[in-house]
């Protein structure tokens, strides 16, 4: 204190250095950055009113119960009579599951013997990397034993073979044709947008490339199942097959679900089993190239009953991957030859 007062009294006579230290060079980079950052104006976003049940959405979603089902920690039953809640879910043979549903839908009970048989397939939607997930996919699974799915499907088929054209037309394709049909499309007399599915054989692919821009995503390719040598089988598949979508949960991204109808309860159990097998085979075609399971669990349900029967899908997996590989090679070889 005494020093400062003395300094002030001497200021007229002696030039004393200022109390603050002033540097002639730039400050350290970290200091400069900090200073610049504090000067930047942070614009506060005006958030409008959020209703009480939409606030803290992330917090709410974290506490949501997981949709993935796991009962591996439970024991297997040892008695012939037991309460099911203490044990793992019973795995039914497919035909037994159908018979159990028939028991509840019997005329003496619910009296609905022709209700639909629904299949729910739970999937593991993890992709090649753990953080990347499989996209939602829509496919058609061929049904060897047809049933009325109630959908109207418009199909256009391109094939040079006259016999195939006749057969396709008989099976229910809307329009079938060869090079002349391609010309008609180019003229504008046939509008491709009207058709859900565009089927073709590899031999006509070279000429079909002209229309690629018009077709875009619907252009026949092996992955979609629309490019094949056997046109009548393809038409049959797309007319009678079951259209299903694999949808992943928007929050729990590695959980996906497929819900479809594969027949009615009054159909033969063996036919229903064949339908189920072909559905499983088709689902496995959408599997990503990584180790581990894709299908977690398969359930058979039949409304109005609320019972769900777990079915083992592994019994119906038999070398699908080798099948599809050989098929793509076959088709590519034919396309290259033409």
């Amino acid at each position: 204190m005494a020093l400062i007062s003395r300094g002030f009294s001497l200021i007229n006579r002696i030039q004393l250095p200022a109390v603050t230290q002033v540097r002639e060079y730039a400050a350290r980079k970290g200091t400069r950055d900090k200073r610049a950052k504090s000067k930047v104006k942070v614009e506060v976003e005006k958030v409008g009113f959020i209703p009480h049940n939409q606030r803290n959405r992330e917090k709410f979603l974290l506490s949501r119960p997981k949709r993935k089902f796991d009962d591996s920690w439970k024991q297997l039953p040892i008695d012939n009579v037991y309460p099911q809640r203490y044990y793992q879910w019973r795995v039914y043979p497919f035909q037994e599951a159908i018979l159990c549903h028939r028991e509840t839908h019997h005329p003496e009970v619910y009296n609905k013997p022709n209700s639909n048989v629904h299949i729910t397939i739970e999937l593991n939607m993890e992709g090649e990397k753990k953080t990347r997930f499989v996209d939602n996919f829509t496919r058609i699974a061929p049904m060897p034993n047809g049933f009325d799915h109630g959908e109207q499907r418009s199909i256009i088929a391109f094939t040079k073979n006259e016999e195939y054209q006749e057969q396709a037309k008989a099976l229910g394709a809307t329009i079938v044709g060869g090079l002349d049909l391609i010309r008609e499309v180019q003229n504008g007399s046939v509008d491709l947008q009207e058709f859900q599915f565009i089927l073709a054989e590899p031999q006509i692919l070279a000429e079909l490339v002209v229309l690629r821009g018009v077709m875009r995503r619907k252009f026949p390719n092996v992955k979609l199942g629309t490019l094949d040598m056997d046109i009548p089988a393809m038409v049959k598949k797309f007319m009678n097959g079951v259209n299903y979508t694999g949808i992943k949960d928007e929050f729990e991204k590695d959980f996906g679900i497929i819900e479809t109808v594969i027949g009615t309860l009054d159909m033969n159990e063996k036919h229903l089993e064949e339908n189920f097998a072909s559905l499983v085979e088709d689902v496995m075609k959408a599997k990503p190239k990584r180790p581990g399971q894709f299908i977690r669990r398969c359930l058979v349900t039949s409304p109005p009953s609320r019972e769900k029967f777990k079915v083992d899908h592994n019994l119906y997996l038999q070398q699908e991957h080798s099948e599809t590989k050989s098929k793509t090679e076959e088709v590519e070889a034919v396309a290259a030859a033409n």
Binding site: I78, D79, R90, T104, V109, K112, E307
Partner: protein, 265 residues
């Protein structure tokens, strides 16, 4: 003064007559923390002196605190029948605390050490007539004795009650009861009969061909058309009902849901 006090108390402390913290805590502290060095130390050449570690090498991150880990289950061999675990001679894995306090201390089990495994290899129950068929059969019996089974039958189609109807009804409410284990009342129950809506009967279930349990049942009539359906009955199992067959009245009165029910409930 303190010097003489210390001299007087010292022999007593030495003899451990007074429990001091030092005397009591003679146990080994078995706490293990798994740490990871944040900065890896130098590599050393063969044959040369190891390089000195610096302060930065003594900074660790906690990887695992073994105190908070769950202890692995302990294997014990049962010497008596324990409900929910097993029969005499069974080797089971249970939580260590439970194994010690409830099984080992009570003499119901022994440690599954290699010597014990060899010693108790052929240990079997001496009881000739067992009252239990398996470790979990009693639980199944207890659960079933509390059930009031709702059997849905059609309101229009004529029917006669069969074991598969009862089996399907059990399956719907979460019990696996095969047809062979179900014994229906001796007189057949036919329908549709709306008088059955306020009446009860019982079926007998046999668990593992041994334990028998009576299960109280009630028939509900159902129809496909929503318009024709009977009004919903709330808490139907709480109501006291008349028996379908009068000779069963005594047994039905004993079934657990009926105990403590008043006529007006």
């Amino acid at each position: 003064m303190w010097k003489t006090l210390g001299k007087a108390v010292a022999p007593i402390l030495r003899e451990s007559l007074i429990l001091t913290p030092e005397n009591v805590l003679q146990q080994q502290l078995r706490t293990t923390y798994i740490l990871k060095r944040r900065n890896s130390p130098f590599l050393n050449k063969n044959g040369s002196l190891p390089k000195r570690l610096k302060a930065k090498h003594y900074i660790y991150d906690l990887v695992e605190d073994t105190n908070v880990n769950r202890e692995p289950d302990m294997n014990v061999i049962l010497t008596t029948y324990v409900a929910g675990l097993g029969d005499v001679g069974d080797k089971v894995a249970v939580r260590p605390n439970y194994a010690y306090n409830k099984l080992l201390m009570t003499g119901q089990a022994v440690y599954a050490s290699p010597e014990n495994v060899e010693k108790f290899k052929d240990y079997q129950s001496n009881i000739e007539e067992k009252t239990y068929s398996s470790a979990t059969s009693q639980r199944a019996v207890d659960c079933l004795s509390r059930v009031t089974l709702s059997i849905i039958m059609n309101k229009e189609t004529p029917w006669v009650l069969k074991p598969w109807h009862v089996k399907a009804s059990f399956r719907k409410c979460g019990y696996w009861v095969p047809e062979e284990t179900i014994v229906l009342p001796t007189n057949p129950i036919t329908g549709p009969n709306l008088e059955l809506e306020n009446k009860e009967f019982f079926v007998t279930i046999t668990v593992n061909n041994m334990e028998k349990v009576n299960v109280r049942c009630k028939i509900h009539h159902w129809t496909t058309e929503v318009v024709d359906r009977l009004p919903h009955e709330k808490d139907f199992w709480k109501k006291k009902l008349d028996p379908v067959f009068s000779e069963d009245a005594a047994i039905l009165a004993e079934l657990t849901p009926n105990k403590g029910l008043n006529a007006d409930q």
